[in-house]
């Protein structure tokens, strides 16, 4: 990720009022994680799997603070169970920012499943999402996701792909 894209993500998170980020690091966002760690206005929590991160974000929601779950899109699959229970069972929202592994342009065989499953899994959970491949659209996509999730009290997602992450 270019520094300017990292800056756009952090600007978007701050504009949306996010003060806590749970993450499990991945390679496409590798420049983003240390930038989040270094930001004095954001507390980062490293998790052991993305489902745990989703549940922590749900707890943060209940506190009145705003959280984000940041991960590779494969983490969505690890998060499905807590997302379904919290979102559909209780109306506790989690906003996710994920790297789009496995989209056209992918050159790793192991990442192909992530691309094939991401959008069907989001659709199965009825989670609205936006795929952003242009840097100037990152900030708006993040703030729109929070607007929606705090009106619907349901999850939303932003997937960053294309030139933004490669």
């Amino acid at each position: 990720m270019k520094q300017s894209a990292v800056d756009a993500v952090i600007r978007g998170l701050k504009k949306a009022g996010v003060s806590i980020v749970c993450y499990l690091p991945d390679s496409l966002f590798k420049e983003l994680y240390p930038a989040l760690d270094a930001d004095p206005d954001i507390r980062t929590i490293r998790v052991t799997n993305e489902g745990e991160g989703a549940a922590i974000c749900g707890g943060v929601f209940l506190s009145g603070k705003r959280a984000a779950l940041i991960m590779e899109n494969s983490g969505l699959r690890a998060s499905v169970e807590p997302l379904a229970r919290m979102g559909l069972g209780a109306g506790i929202p989690v906003v996710m920012l994920m790297s789009y592994r496995g989209e056209l342009g992918e050159n790793n065989w192991w990442a192909i499943p992530h691309g094939i499953t991401m959008e069907p899994v989001l659709n199965a959970l009825r989670i609205p999402y936006r795929v952003v491949t242009e840097e100037e659209k990152i900030e708006r996509a993040i703030t729109d996701a929070y607007q929606w999730s705090y009106a619907a009290y349901y999850h939303s997602a932003v997937a960053l792909g294309g030139e933004v992450v490669r």
Partner: protein, 202 residues
Amino acid sequence: MKRYDCMKALAARLKDELVILSLGASVDEWYNAAPHMREASLFQQQLGCVTPQAFGLAAGLPHRRIVSLDTDGGMMFNLGILATLGNEQPKNLFVVVWDNEMYQSIGGPATHTAFGRVDIAAIARGAGVDYAYTARTIEEFDEHCAKGLAADVPYVVVAKVAGSVQPDIKRKHSDGREDKYIFVRHVEASEGITIMGPSEHN
């Protein structure tokens, strides 16, 4: 040691705390053992989510004591949270693990703790939660509640309880959605904040 008796002992020590707890029979037991904490308790629905959600709440409200009422099945489902607590060292999180060595709500098949080898408190210590203990009597449990509710490090007590359920107790009627609203409105009122506010006019 009966879980319901432990709950009564813990409930007597609670006033301003917030509680996240698991699904199954312990929900109705807590509902009856701690009637003064009903609005301050969120009945979570999923194995593996209770302590992570309690930790998220603790991270968001660092001045408030948060109590997680987890279970052996729930903790075994996501042991990773113990490593996260070990690294993050929250100062305001007290974790109780009701360990009845069974999946009680589906009729009682054994969990991994039933065979005398798996020790959740030892796993927690190995994960960096230094204050993690097993309680086998009400007196031991109550002493850990006193210490855990006053600690400024994460504190875990694994309560070895019988597989029985307190008979003739009132069932909770609300579902997860109603529970969330009740809990959120309690947090809003007690913290003087807005979590779920009015819609915009536009």
